[in-house]
Structures are given as C-alpha cells and as structure tokens.
C-alpha cells in the first residue's frame, strides 16, 4: 500500500490520536518556506502510540508485523519537544509506515510498546538512556549501551560533556 | 529411538562427509601455499592505496581546504605569506587520529596533497605519530634575513605603541601583550 492508502485505512479504522500527516512539500519562496524533502510521516499523540501500534499490527490490511525502529530526535536546544520516531514494516504487504510523535522535553513519558513488539525492548532502552524518555511499563529499564551509572542523556542537544568519569579525565 | 536405517545412515553420513572434507583439505595440503613471506617479498601496492600522505609543498597555497574537510581535524597547517612566497610554520598530520578516509585529498584546489603508498606506522612513542609533512621551509636565506629585519622593526614599533598605550590606559595592557605574543 502507498502511504496515502495507509493513512486512509488508519482513518477508516478510527485510529486514536492521529494529529495530522506530515508530508514533504516543495520550497515556497513567497512565504520563505524552505520546504521539506524526504518521506511522509503520520503525526500522532504520544499517549496513543501503543494503541496505534496495536492497530497497525493486527489489522489485516496494514499488518505491520515488524517494528523496525523506535528512536527519538532532539531537533534543537530551544525546541520544547522531542520527536519520537517509529518505523514499521509489513513483510506480507511490503509497505512501510513512519510515525512521529512530539513529546515535551519537560516530562518525556511514553507508554512502552514492549507488549506489542518484543523488538521495542532494546530500542526503548537505548532511547531512554540517550534521550531521557521514560517508557512506562518497560520490563527491563536499564541502560543498554552506556554504563549503569552514567549521568545525563548524551544525545540531547543540551547535553554537557562530562570532564571526568570515575577519576579519568576526558578532556 | 532411532530406526536402524537412521542409525546406520548416521554412521554412513558421518564417515562419508568426513572423507569428503578430508579430500578437500588433503588437496590443499598438497598444493603450494598462497601467502607471500612478508618482509622478504611484498605484494604490489595499487596506485590508489591510501597510505601516509605526502605533500607537494611548492604547489600548496595554505588555503586550509584539506584541514576543513578532515572529519577529525587532524591536519594542522600554518604559513606566513610574503608576497608570493610562503614561509611554512607548520603542516602536521596527526596519525593517531587520521582514519585514512582520503577526504582531505579531494577538496584541494591545487591538487597538492596525496595519499602515498607508505603504510608502516611503527614508532616507539605516540607523539612521533604527529607527522611533519613539510620538506622545506619555503624561503631563500636572503628573504629570511629581510623578513627577520622587517619583523624586528615591526616588533619594535609595536612595542613602542604598546608602551604608549600602556601609559595612556593601563587597562588595555593585557590585549596589547597578547598581540605581541601572537606575532612572536
């Protein structure tokens, strides 16, 4: 299915929390809009992420069996939101879907998708340690790549690099 | 439980596939080995090999394009311009950092930095890995003397200016000294 068809299907299923569709657009000189290239996303409410994933996996026409990726992006230091990006793949129908959710940096809490896709477990652990997103209901919320006692969330744009770690100078 | 056919099938398969493998290994046992004995004989190195850099210094115009292209900032270069001539202060490449990506070679407008075929980077000390790529300092002796005189003159002038400035406003002393330090 093409992207538009997937979105229509989601809308037809009354998928909760769909905000809008973020599609690439051509640059417009009059409004000084630089445009956006790349791929389209479905913007969703972060709270309804789990429901939408459930829907995407179980609906027979979407049938997204594989969760490819869950990650976050910090667009800028002064941006109030983190972007949560979810990439889904349907092996049977051979289509993809990308979801995007804006999560306030002040309180980045997201329900965990582990119950739906086991693949989410490690992605969420990585996302949690790198961006400080709390995944509610995650069965094993330890650090995965960083040491257990690491302070801060390194992938955030406002992260300050430590000058020492356990007495070892990193300058 | 395994059936009799499976039982003897297993025995047969084990022995026959073992013999099949032994035929292959035995074949290679009788063949001449492939490797070259490294220090005595060496494989030819292709022209495009990405080894230690070399610099065609006479062409270089100290434009910093390579240093800017470097992903890890391992190139440090500095030269003083005297008309058309350059007096090189430094052109070093830190091979502790360098990852031999060749990205420094492409942006060069004069096509003067290349990656050579030399690859042995064995030192007793890490600091020796900070290679100096300069082959000469780039000025004749006369020019150097002339330059030194000009520099001394300029330094004297600056010093005079600085003392004047220091007298006028003691607060400005610090930046003046810094300037001097840079020129020296």
């Amino acid at each position: 299915m093409e992207f538009q068809a997937i979105v229509d299907r989601l809308r037809a299923l009354n998928a909760p929390g769909i905000v809008e569709v973020d599609e690439p657009r051509a640059p417009d000189k009059e409004t000084k809009d630089k445009g956006r290239s790349g791929r389209p996303f479905v913007m969703i409410e972060p709270a309804s992420l789990v429901d939408i994933l459930h829907l995407c996996r179980d609906d027979e026409r979407l049938q997204m069996e594989v969760l490819i990726d869950i990650t976050a992006s910090d667009p800028a230091v002064d941006d109030a939101n983190l972007w949560i990006l979810v990439e889904l793949l349907s092996v049977k129908h051979r289509h993809r879907l990308a979801l995007k959710a804006l999560l306030p940096k002040a309180n980045p809490v997201l329900p965990s998708a582990t119950a739906i896709y086991r693949a989410a477990q490690w992605h969420e652990r990585e996302c949690a340690e790198m961006y400080g997103v709390t995944f509610e209901g995650h069965p094993d919320p330890r650090n995965i790549l960083l040491p257990d006692d690491w302070v801060g969330h390194p992938m955030r744009k406002d992260y300050e690099f430590p000058t020492e770690y356990h007495g070892i100078s990193c300058e | 439980m395994v059936s009799a056919s499976e039982y003897f099938g297993n025995v047969w398969k084990t022995l026959s596939t073992t013999w099949g493998g032994m035929k292959i290994t035995g074949k290679y046992f009788l063949q001449k080995p492939i490797p070259v004995q490294y220090p005595d004989e060496r494989l030819p190195i292709p022209d495009r090999y990405r080894g230690i850099h070399y610099l065609e210094q006479e062409k270089c115009i100290n434009c910093l394009a390579c240093a800017r292209a470097c992903p890890i900032d391992c190139i440090e270069m500095d030269a003083i311009r005297h008309g058309k001539e350059l007096e090189w202060v430094t052109f070093t490449l830190d091979y502790q950092k360098c990852m031999f990506c060749e990205l420094c070679v492409y942006p060069c407008p004069k096509d003067c930095i290349h990656m050579g075929t030399e690859y042995a980077l064995v030192t007793y000390d890490r600091s020796e890995l900070n290679y100096d790529l300069l082959s000469f300092k780039g000025m004749s002796r006369d020019a150097r003397i002339r330059k030194k005189e000009a520099e001394e003159k300029k330094a004297a002038k600056d010093a005079a200016k600085a003392t004047k400035a220091a007298k006028a406003a003691p607060a400005e002393e610090a930046p003046a000294e810094e300037e001097k330090g840079e020129e020296g």
Binding site: S37, I68, D69, V91, R118, W122, D140, M155 | A69, F100
Partner: protein
C-alpha cells in the same frame, strides 16, 4: 528478561537433613545436596563473542538456563558524531560500525542523504559500480560469517579458505578505492572514483574462481554431518518470533520468510536486476532439521554468496562508460527534511534516519543497526541449550559488535 538474580532458581531446592520412616518401618535419611546454578561471564573477551560483547550465562552443568547479553563495550557514539560533523565527513564513520560490510554502510548512508536531495541525479555507471561493490562486500561479509561460524563450531580450516577469497575481494577494493576495510568509497551523489582499467575484468575473473571454491565450502562445512548435527534443531526462530523481535535479513529468511529489501522494496537498480531474473532469494526450509534453526540461517548466508555473484555478473554485463558522480558541491548542504532509507545489509535492514534543517550538519543521524536488533533474540534462544550450543547460536546471529554498540 529481568535481572538474572531475580530469576535465580536452584535446580534442587536446598533443604536440611530429613528423616523419613518408610512403610516397612525402616528409617531413611536424606541428605539433600544443595546445588545452585553457575553464573558464567562469557566475554567481554571470549573467542566466541565476535568482539567485545558480554553474555552472562546461567548454567546448570552443561545446560544453559539463562542468558543475558550486555552491550556497550564498543560504544563509540556514532550517532552523536553524526550530529557534529558535515554530511560528507560522516561518511568515514559509517565504515566503522559494521566494519565487515563498510560498502553497504556507505551505501545506506548515501542513499538516505540522497533521499533528501530530490534534484540530485545519480549516474547509471555510479549505480552499477555501487551495486558491484555492495554485492562483493556482501560476499566478503558472508565469507566471514561462514569462516567464523566454522570456528565457533570448532572447524578451523574453513576460516582460512574463506579468508583466502575474502583477501581477493579486499584486494579488488584496494584497487578501486585504496582501502581494504574502511572504504569510504560510495559517497553522496555517486562514488569517489571510477573503476581503474582492468578492474571490472578482474571482478569477472573473481566470479569464475569463486563459484568453484564455493562448492568446496559447501562440501567442507555445510554438508558435513558433524556440523549438521551441531547446528540443526538449535536456536529455532519461528516465523512469529522473528516478526516479534523485528529480525531482518538472513535471520528472517532463515525462518522461512520470503522477504528481501532488494526485491521487495527495491533501491538503486535492484528492481531492474530482479526483473531480469538474475537472482533468487534463498530461504531456510528446514532441510536438515526444523525451519529457522542455526543450520538454516547459515545455509541462507552461504547461498546468498552465490546470488550476489549472479548480481555482480549481471552488472558487469550491462555496465557502460560514463560519469560516476552526480552534481554535488564540495561542501554539501542538504535541503531540510527527514528521511529514512533501509537497505539490505548482509546482516539485515540497515536503516539510516537522517534529519536535516538545511545546514551543513545533520540534526539527527540515526542508525538502525541490524546486529543490534538481531542480538535481542539471544535472550530467548539460549535457555535450554547446551553450553556449546550457546556458542553456535551467537555465531548464527552473525553479529558485528561494532554495529550493535555503534
């Protein structure tokens, strides 16, 4: 899986001396032996962990009752570096997460960045050279998988045979780009260099020789009964499990799922090659044991080498002279946008999510590493196997620790 300590259940519950009176009136004493499972640290420096990975094993004798992978020993902040260097400057870093298939990483990153640059046109020759290099690199990577898997199982010699051919591939890469492992060859807009004269012919020669040698690999290891006995019915990943864990690449195909990004979501010229009927997708069919066992995954990797050879041969036929790089400035500025491109790496889907705000530097450069995802399945596969099987299972996931940790 939660912490191993919490799950810890001794196989025999310790108890004090117990006195029982049998029906016959005799007294019987029981001295229950208090046993507990042994926790073993496999790694970070262990021959079978393929790098610096640590697996905490809980064993009851030879039986593994629990396993927990610990990552991060090779974490080099690749994604953070991507947010700090220019677009083209990040290219050498992509070589370094999956160092066994650097060409494919270059390709994945370049395609992701190119997806944000709609005006950029990639010349056909560049695409074909990219395909040749990516497929040759896939062979080289599969050769490592073949060799090291033999090593894990205890067969030493296949490793050297595999390296012999891999050396040739590396020499080919050395001729075209000057490096043997970290190529930085496929770049945004095309490739760095055109193939040197005679190079394509040598690739053809390599294909001829490789087909012969491949038969030997097959007889020496894949068909060897001892090897089959070691790998069949071990580490079975069912189709549902593969979906659940998000497995891709040979791990997914080993479970019998017919899915290959090259065919099903074609990038570059793979659609054309598939339409020409050049290659097939090898699948695990449970020929020796159960579908989705270690042997199936290994078999898929070995078969894929031959399919790659076919693709290379096709590319050599259709390649023509022409430019090898599109119109790319020296300092690349990528128009604002976000894109995700997943390509078929030798280990699965290598995805790059790139986010540009129109500047010289990426806002976010996410790498979806196949090894990282494929490794997660270990926790479920290991319990109930023998210690030697756990090594076979780790080997069959074919991870590159540089990629799991990035």
């Amino acid at each position: 899986m939660t912490d191993l300590k919490q799950q810890h259940t001794p196989s025999i519950q310790p108890s004090s001396e117990e006195e029982r009176i049998l029906p016959s009136g005799e007294r019987e004493f029981f001295f229950d032996v208090s046993t507990s499972d042994l926790e073993i640290n496999m790694g970070p420096q262990h021959p079978a962990t393929h790098g610096v990975m640590r697996v905490l094993l809980r064993t009851d004798g030879e039986l593994v009752t629990g396993a927990q992978p610990h990552l991060g020993y090779l974490h080099r902040c690749a994604e953070k570096i991507g947010e700090n260097v220019e677009w083209l400057q990040y290219l050498p870093y992509t070589d370094r997460y999956d160092y066994l298939s650097a060409m494919n990483n270059n390709l994945g990153y370049s395609l992701a960045v190119e997806s944000l640059m709609p005006e950029l046109e990639i010349p056909r020759r560049a695409t074909l050279i990219r395909t040749i290099c990516a497929e040759l690199n896939r062979i080289a990577s599969a050769l490592i998988a073949y060799g090291t898997y033999g090593l894990d199982i205890g067969a030493f010699t296949p490793f050297f045979y595999a390296f012999r051919e891999r050396e040739w591939i590396q020499a080919l890469f050395e001729k075209i780009c000057g490096a043997r492992l970290t190529y930085s060859f496929i770049r945004i807009g095309g490739v760095f260099n055109d193939a040197p004269p005679g190079w394509l012919k040598e690739v053809g020669m390599f294909c001829d020789v490789f087909e012969e040698k491949w038969r030997e690999y097959y007889d020496l290891l894949v068909e060897n009964h001892l090897f089959v006995m070691r790998t069949k019915d071990i580490g079975i990943i069912s189709e549902e499990m593969a979906y659940d864990f998000g497995l891709t690449g040979p791990m997914l195909r080993g479970s019998g799922v017919d899915f290959d990004l090259r065919r099903d979501m074609p990038y570059m010229d793979y659609k054309e090659i598939w339409d020409a009927g050049v290659y097939q997708i090898p699948l695990g069919r449970g020929e020796k044991g159960t579908t989705g066992d270690c042997w199936d995954r290994f078999y898929v990797r070995v078969q894929e080498m031959m399919e790659s050879i076919k693709i290379v041969r096709y590319c050599l036929e259709v390649i023509e002279a022409g430019p090898v790089i599109g119109d790319v400035p020296k300092v690349i500025k990528v128009p604002p946008g976000e894109g995700y491109v997943g390509i078929e790496n030798p280990r699965g889907e290598l995805g790059h999510y790139v986010h540009s705000d129109g500047g010289k530097i990426a806002v976010r450069c996410r790498v979806r590493a196949p090894s990282f995802v494929n490794l997660a399945v270990l926790e479920d596969l290991m319990p109930g196997t023998l210690l030697a099987d756990s090594v076979a299972i780790i080997g069959s996931t074919d991870i590159v620790v540089g990629e799991t940790d990035r």
